[in-house]
Symmetry: C2
Subunit: 778 residues, 2 copies
Amino acid sequence: MSSDGYLDPESDSYDSRPQFYIGQHDTARSETLTDAQYTHVLNSGFDFVTTPITNHHFRQRVVELYKSHLQDREQWGLSDVAKTNLSLPGPVVPTLTDEDTSYGPSSYVGSLIAYSSPWIDLCSPDPIISSISRQVLNMELVYASFCGARSVIIPGPREDESSSAVMQYSRCIQEALQAANRINIIVHMPMYREPGLEEKAATLSSLLGKANGAGSSAEKEIDIFTTWDSWHTVRSVCNYSARLFVALRIPKRIPEKNLQERWFAEPLHYLTLGDHIFQQNAAGRPSLSRHHQDLIARYMRLKHYPWLILSDVGPGIEALDNLPDPMAIEFPSLAEASKALKESRKPMPTRNNYVAYMKHVERQQPPYSAMETPPLRSFQDWLQSPLQPLADNLESATYEVFEGDPVKYNQYEHAIANAMIEWKGLNKPTAQSPENSDLVVAVAGAGRGPLVTRVIRAAESTGTSIQLWAVEKNQNAYVYLLRQNNLIWNNRVTIVKTDMRGWAGPTSPSGQPYKVDILVTELLGSFGDNELSPECLDGIQRHISRPHGISIPHSYTAHLTPIATPRLFADIASRVVADPNAFETPWVTRLFALDFAAQKAPGHPRFQQAWEFAHPVEISRADQFAERHGNAVKFHTVGGGSISGSSGVNDHNARHCHLTFVCPTRGVIHGLAGYFESVLYASQVQGGTEKVEISILPDQIDRKSKDMISWFPIFFPLKQPLLFPPDSEIEVSMWRQTDDTKVWYEWIVEAYAWVGPKTRVKVGQSEMHSSRKVACLM
Amino acid sequence: MSSDGYLDPESDSYDSRPQFYIGQHDTARSETLTDAQYTHVLNSGFDFVTTPITNHHFRQRVVELYKSHLQDREQWGLSDVAKTNLSLPGPVVPTLTDEDTSYGPSSYVGSLIAYSSPWIDLCSPDPIISSISRQVLNMELVYASFCGARSVIIPGPREDESSSAVMQYSRCIQEALQAANRINIIVHMPMYREPGLEEKAATLSSLLGKANGAGSSAEKEIDIFTTWDSWHTVRSVCNYSARLFVALRIPKRIPEKNLQERWFAEPLHYLTLGDHIFQQNAAGRPSLSRHHQDLIARYMRLKHYPWLILSDVGPGIEALDNLPDPMAIEFPSLAEASKALKESRKPMPTRNNYVAYMKHVERQQPPYSAMETPPLRSFQDWLQSPLQPLADNLESATYEVFEGDPVKYNQYEHAIANAMIEWKGLNKPTAQSPENSDLVVAVAGAGRGPLVTRVIRAAESTGTSIQLWAVEKNQNAYVYLLRQNNLIWNNRVTIVKTDMRGWAGPTSPSGQPYKVDILVTELLGSFGDNELSPECLDGIQRHISRPHGISIPHSYTAHLTPIATPRLFADIASRVVADPNAFETPWVTRLFALDFAAQKAPGHPRFQQAWEFAHPVEISRADQFAERHGNAVKFHTVGGGSISGSSGVNDHNARHCHLTFVCPTRGVIHGLAGYFESVLYASQVQGGTEKVEISILPDQIDRKSKDMISWFPIFFPLKQPLLFPPDSEIEVSMWRQTDDTKVWYEWIVEAYAWVGPKTRVKVGQSEMHSSRKVACLM
């Protein structure tokens, strides 16, 4: 987002709830504001104001140009414009003069939001009108850029949303982004085409006395997604330019949720609110419906939340025209302007009623939650490369962040306590028995020891006598653990510095090896297995006593859903030059500005399980595994049929899934959101099991581990956005692949549409994606 | 294509018609042929033979492996395979031993076509079967590669063509291409699934006594495109690998033309013909239906035409088993093998009946036409960068090629003669009159003078008295023209060395300038205007006399159609590293292995006109143009609204089109084929006009300029293949853009599907493509 720093919502001065930036737009305005007028508008409570770039004089010149060109054609005997496009030069719009614009460089031009001429018609079927319109647009943009504008709002495509018209429009915007290569272009789009409430600006056609192209929309059934379709085409043609945004016109009737969410994911720069969407309250003051307030409040939760533009809510042109102009100087110096501003401040105008009301709405917003405090909010849609958990040693501060999530550790403690209670309740023998009835507990990958503390607490709360081991490979964290053991844990813990996969297991003081009753680990990533929990546990689980030994977590599952994330797509696309694997990297990111493609349908939930891992695995298999690991000679009998370069040792941790998602509403997807759930421990209770779980699934987290913040989701991008029509099914194929030395994912997505009750046809397919080049090393 | 050089259809030894290479395949064969058997098969008339890679012993071992794994699972209490996939290692297929295969390195292994085990099932819903199958495939491939195989045929996906199954299959092939990274993989696909005639090889499932997955196909309506769908998915997942081909199984009932053409465009390596597709002729000998013969003849016209494999047509295993084996040595030396071969040649076996018949079919093919002689055939689908006609000077040999097309110059002569006749018939004043009644004719861009010769001939044949000027910018061609004038043209021609745009026009001996009556040029490219004919003629047309002056050509039109060209797509994709603009270059190419996406529909022909240029343009405009060119001062009044960096001087030569193509059958497109037509001259005759035309449109060339070979089509590629479902419409937006210094094209394609009688939805869209970076310089 841009515009002047002092208005920037991204600056440090944040409030306890989103702060509104409110601008003023007047559709009848044709000249830029004088300094006095500008000051007056600001003093009415607005934060900024729009300005036209050119004036009526220019518009009239363009109209005359068209007319004189037609006369020329008639002279040549060529009156039918459409038929005589051949080899005929259209008119070239003359360059701007001082008479054509009152807009110009000034000290506050960066705070004026330039609005390009609404009367142009870029997709007119009349090739001369579309040519003139394109020229006017480019001239206005480069002039605004020259004057210092950072952003220009451009009216979106008109009601004719044919492929031909929208393509013409899109091509013009693409060219405009090149012509004015430093400014942001903000396309003004209605949220949907509200019958009878479309803004009817004068067009070049109407100025020339011609009928506008599009027919009456009243005849057609309302399709609320057509303006989003057009926007999607525009930005696709413009390759998701980072300089292209939306100014979204809020309708009188708020549409259904899925359209609101569709726009939520788009790069919203402004929300524009016309006079007509306000109601009058009992006191005759403007107010908004609850639906409007909710919509605004929702959009305001975005990290880059939109600014508001109130349209035609005063002070209007007439009021402003009657202001005494304190300055006759056209381009005042900063000192002069400042002096003039001060003078014009008295008398202070009364605050605009609409602004006053919007300030009220601002205060009604719920305050920021813990997850929305600035440091956490800044993680919204911020791409992090996944950890290399086995290769990297973490810093203390990183551990501290992880330890700061009480929800997660409470669930662990609860699970450990349940396991201890059940162990005793069922009178299971311990790993050391009959020599010693202490339960043997090991925390593998102990880090700075938060789980060690929780094991001790669980033992105390359940009155369980335990022997406790902590295994950690990070030599620096090891020092910290030793210190904790001295200071906090009364040296009750045996601390071993080793990679858990190489640990020899617990031994008695006499050197007798024995097994572990409860193995506690926290190796899970955003997608469950993506930080190699299965491989790490394979390496240590031979120490778990059988048949009663327990792994906490007991199991975990990976889950997927296809999503639209235009901003993330643009972000990843911008990285490809520096990072050729950007589109084949599973990114850990706090997905926020997203739109779910899949609806909850019977048998096809929005979030679907990809696969599961459970621990410990069957004993025979674990032995087999240990044999293989321990005895390379065994390999002479196994084949080379696995993934190239592999001998199949880790093949049992490969996975594959094929999922079908149901999408009644058309849209686009940019990738797959990944989540996990884990059953830490499941106790047998009367009539079933009682599970202690953690989950980051949006529809489960509140039920299973509310307010847990340790994990953000994972995002598997697609190189090309995949369009899908209404009544589609999206089929996702995903693999967890391994070659004995590393683990990676592969994913491909197909779109199918139902074109009859029994006929489903493929309409699109992504490339096969693979994170092999950025794989997790074992 | 590959395999041994001496069998290579690309070698120099070509015949006057395509030569068949005929191989033998025996589905019951499980051991590779002995030398004697191999010799015997070759002596039966075959050119090559297939071989299995592994034998029944290996298959039995794999079956046992699966069974013992199931027993293990039962021991662990895990009998339901599907449910207990979790964390269970599947069996690892042991490495091959000498007992598992009789295939091995030999002097002729390159001539044996390896055929992988047909009993594997890569997309089995049983994860253990699919895992074993994948391992077997990879082991066979790397072993075949070790032995020296160049290509391996792999059975295609089975009847279960669900998205899940085909994706699994595709992923396996992708992996196989990596595992065996030097050999070609040839997927054996039926042309379509012929009910009741599918090959039913034993599968791992059936060997294990399980039902095969797919249901009976008799219940379903036949959809003849499903196998192509599967192939398209496979090769898409494999990124159009240059090592991936099709072996196409020819069906008993030849399907409709559009399916034949679909496969025609694919990389066909083999056609396989089973015993059952042959009929018995009156003499009890095998023969093929006319439809089969036509299909084969059609495919044989490809530059890389497929080889034929006759399946189960003898000599069969039993016959071969009874041969005396002259060798007991397993890997004979070359000398030993050669001796053995010689011995085994006696007695000479009789020629196989089927081979004899196929040799007959070979002779029935039409001989190569002029366009199919080896030099011209080699241009099939060969990508040429377009000329820079204004920047480059051509070599004499290039002119000679162009001059070698009598059809084109005959049409020009005819047009010039018609123009002269009409001029006289209408008693039009000449440019010089009343001083001189000679018709003034100028050939601009005369090259080595072929059009000069034709103008002279036309004048002689019509008894027209002319004054002839020839303008040429190429200083080397100028020398040639001067010599021609001396030797051939009796110095009747005034030759001027200049860029035509800078020519001062004809002058009388006294220095009086005058105009040209007939201007003749040959500046057209494959897409009409793509070699800047409009811009060149703009620069010279001020010398054409008004109102009667004539340009030959009078007008030209550009035409488009969307096409599938998988081979060209793969070719362009392979160039992208070296040439980042490869997908945004309009390639001149003799499009051959293509499939037209659009059907001829009422109002929506397969080939549609993009735009037209006509010459000379209106006089006022031409004056305006000259003024602009001549007087830079004029520019101070024109705006900067044109394409960035341009002042709009050439804007009248910009064009835009939006075309809709109707596609009833589903498919994929890889780009747009471009063509042109030109009206050289249109005479007014009773009741209308008589046009002399040239055309390279496939459906017009025979009518308008049969056998004209001067132009190949142009190809506008798409970066991503665009899939479209049945009952689609493909919308093409194309622009001819200019910035006063160069000309380029932009194109974007959208796919829409009808999902109800009134509802059309967008299902896909290409990127916007632009050739600006490889633009034609003015």
